[in-house]
């Protein structure tokens, strides 16, 4: 059901990732972990191949030794306009809201993991175990974010709690929401500003400008998922832009 408030919200959130600026420092990964109460990816979890990282840095090697280059690409939920994870959920636990976001409703989820299969980017995570934190980290949990129980799926929410807070505070102060007012944890933590968050409906926002850049591409566009996360290709001084993702 679409409420009237959602119809008039008028935002279409999106992110732009300038791959050329990414140094692979993983600050975004840590920030996301801290912000969103994500289960710790301990050694055990890693061995079980069940790590959690709502945003991850994929590292690929290019070239032949000794001419090897490491390329980094941050991958998080692409918030597809035509998301393959949405139609397959039997209980509407994942659906598309009117602000261009693919949202996950933990209460509804029964844990069929079908959405995880449907996602071509592998950015949906399943809580195989009841999450536990060491005692020292318990007071660190973010009170704005639900702590997920076992048996449900979770994924990047574009830090929806920060979006809501930003909109609320702007309304309280009686001012227009400015580009850059809202920053998800990963964007805030990125030291090279490789990640940019904003509103596509605002033609002057940085993401809108970046979306029209020549270097822009989207991941797996052959699948017609129409992601709301766009990437700007890496530029190699000697070879030119290496666009797309092979």
């Amino acid at each position: 059901m679409v409420t009237a408030a959602e119809k008039v919200s008028g935002h279409k959130w999106g992110m732009a990732v300038d791959v050329d600026r990414c140094t692979g420092c993983q600050a975004c990964v840590m920030a996301c972990q801290a912000e969103n109460n994500t289960t710790l990816s301990t050694e055990d979890v890693y061995r079980q191949k069940r790590t959690f990282a709502w945003i991850r840095i994929e590292r690929y090697w290019y070239g032949e030794f000794p001419d090897v280059k490491a390329r980094f690409i941050p991958i998080m939920c692409q918030h597809c306009e035509n998301a393959p994870c949405e139609p397959v959920c039997p209980v509407f636990a994942t659906y598309h809201n009117t602000e261009g976001m693919n949202v996950q409703i933990y209460n509804r989820c029964v844990g069929t993991r079908y959405c995880g299969n449907g996602c071509p980017y592998n950015v949906r995570f399943f809580n195989y175990w009841e999450p536990v934190w060491p005692k020292s980290l318990r007071n660190q949990l973010n009170p704005d974010v639900t702590v997920r129980s076992r048996g449900i799926m979770e994924k990047c929410s574009f830090c929806v709690q920060r979006i809501r807070r930003g909109v609320r505070e702007a309304a309280r102060d009686g001012r227009e929401l400015q580009d850059g007012d809202i920053e998800p944890a990963c964007v805030e933590a990125c030291p090279t500003n490789a990640l940019v968050f904003g509103d596509y409906n605002d033609a002057d926002s940085r993401v809108s400008v970046m979306r029209n850049d020549d270097r822009k591409y989207t991941l797996l566009d052959k699948l017609n998922t129409f992601p709301n996360v766009v990437y700007l290709a890496q530029v190699d001084a000697t070879e030119g832009a290496t666009g797309g993702h092979e």
Binding site: M1, Q48, K49, R50, T51, R56, E58, R59, Y60, I75, P84, P87, V88, C89, P90, V91, F92, R108, C109, V110, G111, T112, R113, Y114, G116, N117, G118, C119, P120, Y121, N122, F125, F126, N127, Y128, W129, E130, R150, G151, I152, M153, L220, L223, H245, E246
Partner: protein, 457 residues
């Protein structure tokens, strides 16, 4: 084909009610042994509920594994019932008669087994009710009709209801026979169960019409159930090995292949365990093997076309998937076993009449087919997930945990136990069908001419 002797009705009753009126010596120990395995399986499920899906070997990206494989496998086995009792009934294949009930029974029990797997594999099984039943009106949220996972419970529920009714309608005349031959609480039980069956012409007519109607009504389910199961995979554009338009017919014919083979296995067991040589005869195995040759060859065609469709695009992830499926250890071994078991060994053997009429050979070849068909589902589900799209960073593999193997074992013990329990209380071979088929083949002498005793409309 008629290698039988005409039996009088008393012999038929005595021999076919052998398991009901007396208890064979092996029955109780076998059932108790199976019960141990079944209870062990339920304990494993309890552990899963208690600890979470983490106790399986599943991971990211392989979110579905052995449980879904077994689900597809058991739904596939369930296609035996409709194939044998509905299609062969409507086409009036005479040789189906002794097999119908066993096949229908296999349908009911394998569906009851199949239902368990998606439910226990869900992350929060105590919440599945608003997935499988659209009842949660207070929130105004119905289940998502676009998801094949909604249609799975609907299809299987319809199939299970239809098959159970079909089984029961066909059981009525035999329940009447049992009622008349038992005393005490058993007599009371059969009196209630036989719904006042007296065997008058009107009741026979109604019973026949109900049987024909039910088999006709179930024909669409024959196509729909496994098509819907296949869409669980086919609607997923992200997974290279799944996203295929051919999946619906491919899965249906594969299901018939494994289901009919399971019926062959069961017929051989029935012949050996209860000594029903007069009823389950080599000619029945011969006919089923001929049917299986056609089905298996059709299925092989679909397998081949599916493969060609996949490789035709020459896309890197698709090629990586096929490479893992066929050429990477240990998947290549599984693939080899799959192909040998599902087609390469049994089908050429079935071309020989001596094999078709040899019950032991038919027993083992039909078991091979089902090993192969289980592996086929496994080889579709797991490598597809493990090699999803070109992001090699997230490629991974899957190791089946002991708990999952235990539950696979449980599923077989569960089906067998239910069958054996059923065999104690109800005849596995329909008495009335056997007598009816005898009437159809009997001749009466009128003057000098031999006339069939019954003329079919």
């Amino acid at each position: 084909m008629q290698q039988r002797r005409i039996l009088d009705e008393f012999t038929i009753n005595r021999e076919l009610l052998r398991g009901n009126l007396n208890t064979p010596k092996w029955w109780l120990p076998t059932v108790l042994g199976l019960l141990v395995v079944v209870l062990f399986g339920f304990t494993l499920m309890g552990i899963m509920f208690n600890k979470g899906v983490g106790v399986t070997g599943l991971n990211r990206p392989v979110y579905w594994g052995l449980f879904i494989t077994s689900f597809v496998f058991w739904v596939g086995i369930s296609h035996a019932g409709i194939m044998i009792s509905a299609i062969l009934r409507l086409t009036q294949a005479e040789w189906r008669r002794p097999v119908t009930r066993a096949a229908e029974l296999l349908t009911v029990f394998s569906l009851m087994t199949a239902l368990f797997f998606p439910l226990i594999h869900a992350g929060r099984p105590w919440r599945i009710f608003y997935w499988i039943t659209p009842f949660d009106f207070s929130r105004g949220i119905f289940p998502n009709p676009r998801s094949p996972l909604i249609w799975d419970p609907f299809a299987i529920g319809t199939y299970l209801t239809g098959s159970t009714l079909f089984l029961y309608v066909a059981l009525l005349p035999d329940l009447g026979v049992l009622r008349d031959r038992t005393t005490g609480w058993k007599h009371s039980f059969y009196t209630v169960a036989s719904l006042g069956w007296r065997g008058n012409p009107r009741q026979w007519r109604l019973q026949t019409v109900a049987g024909i109607l039910l088999s006709a009504l179930m024909l669409p389910i024959f196509v729909s159930v496994h098509s819907i199961v296949s869409w669980d995979f086919a609607v997923t554009p992200a997974v290279e090995g799944w996203h295929s338009t051919i999946f619906a017919p491919y899965f249906v014919i594969g299901a018939v292949h494994s289901g009919v083979s399971a019926v062959v296995t069961m017929m051989a067991l029935m012949r050996w365990l209860w000594g029903w040589e007069n009823y389950i005869r080599p000619e029945h195995f011969d006919a089923l093997a001929r049917l299986l040759i056609v089905v298996a060859t059709g299925w092989l065609g679909f397998t081949f076309v599916e493969l060609i469709f996949g490789v035709y695009s020459l896309e890197a992830p698709e090629r990586a998937l096929r490479e893992m499926q066929m050429f990477t250890w240990p998947w290549n071994l599984l693939f080899l076993i799959f192909f040998l078991c599902a087609f390469a060994i049994p089908v050429p053997l079935w071309f020989f009449k001596r094999v078709r009429n040899n019950i032991a050979m038919m027993f083992w070849t039909s078991i091979l087919v089902n090993i192969g068909m289980w592996l086929e589902r496994f080889l579709i589900i797991v490598p597809g997930l493990a090699r999803k799209q070109p992001f090699v960073f997230t490629w991974d593999s899957y190791t089946v945990s002991y708990l999952e193997w235990g539950l696979l074992l449980w599923s077989f013990a569960w089906v067998l136990m239910l069958m054996l329990l059923f065999s104690k209380f109800f005849p596995l071979i329909p008495l009335f069908e056997t007598k009816e088929s005898q009437l159809f083949t009997m001749d009466v002498k009128i003057g000098r001419a031999n006339m069939p005793a019954v003329i079919r409309e």
